[in-house]
Amino acid sequence: MNTIAESLGQARKSQGIWFAGIAIFVTAWFVLYNQLLPFARWLVTQLPIAPGSHLASSVEFFFYDTPKVLMLLTLVVFAMGVVRTFFSPERTRALLAGKREGLGNIAAAHLGIVTPFCSCSAVPLFVGFVSAGVPLGVTFSFLIAAPMVNEIALGLLFALVGWKVALTYLAFGLSIAIVSGWVIGRLHLEGWLEPWVREVRAGAVDLEDEHLTWVDRFEAGWDAVKEIVGKVWYWIIAGIAAGAFIHGYVPAELLSSIMGADSWWSVPAAVLLGIPMYSNAAGIIPVIEALLGKGAALGTVLAFMMSVIALSLPEMIILRKVLSLKLIAVFVAVVGTGILGVGYLFNALFS
């Protein structure tokens, strides 16, 4: 027993074995992935459910989407976990410090996608950026892009809804982060930070260069899979269950009359509804998929998704430690307006 564990431990240190293992894993992944739909259909026929019924259609959606989403998530999170070892918040800050607005906002929004970031780090990150001379607006561009335009959202949109929607989400998510950050910077609201934030001066930090080998990077990817997939799987199951219900039971006429492109009020309603809702991108996308399948307008649905992810009440409560209420209100108003704009634009373009 011990020798097996030891040789496994040895194997984990070998770069060749990692490469070979990943190649085998990815091949198996694709083979399995292509069998998911036939398998879900077969599974439903094995159950005592009348074929063609609402229930059958819901159950099939659930059986198909659950393994699909989990498999995709694993692949995407692993790849991004490896990519992220090339970035760190400290390095991102060094890149952004002293950058002018405009270019700085664009750089910050893009770095927001690849820089490792967890919401419990939001406050130290905010303070660390501002105190090191990253302009407030640039900091906001980063803080808006980091949760909204992430690999989970993009990867799942790509696989479940299609590459066009994923690309537009990427482009417009980045635009909202850049423009909102720029607007907040133009408003010169530094005085609305909590007083202690303005006073803190960041100490110079000189972390020794970590020499990461490929094995270290792969292990970081695997750690990310364990952590993220372990943390979000219940969101996903809940999201897929909600999606499955919509898929099987909600009549298309009802949804398209409420969330269709013809009802102008549906976009603001979607944004408002999204604020108190808090979900991970992984949980919301199966719902999005089902809504789109029932004829909901793309702009309305994307506005809802962006609002759920980017404007979340828990995050605002955390940020209250560094921002005054006035500044939080401005943040919500600016980002909310951006999301509204995207919603209307899409409904106009794609209807």
């Binding site: 490792p116 967890c118 780090s121 130290p124 303070v127 803190v200 110079a204 930090v205 972390l207 430690k321």
Partner: protein, 78 residues
């Protein structure tokens, strides 16, 4: 006697980091005073952007994510 500070607002990973530091110091037989810093202003003064961070005798050795066991041993012995 080493002075070790673990910087973090109290999320689960910060707690794990503190436990790892304690365990590593005990395993090496190093006498250490371990202090938890949860104040954001204090953290910012050390210049870290991501938590948890580890400061040993005034020097920041780690920021962001769980430290690796090997690194921890190396920093403590330095």
């Amino acid at each position: 006697m080493k002075n070790i500070k673990v910087l973090g607002p109290g999320c689960k990973r910060c707690q794990t980091t503190e436990d790892m530091v304690k365990a590593a110091a005990a395993a090496l037989g190093i006498e250490a005073s371990i202090e938890k810093i949860t104040d954001y202003a204090e953290m910012a003064k050390y210049g870290i952007v991501s938590t948890p961070g580890i400061v040993i005798d005034g020097k920041v050795v780690h920021a962001g994510g769980l430290p690796k066991e090997d690194d921890l041993t190396r920093w403590l012995q330095a």
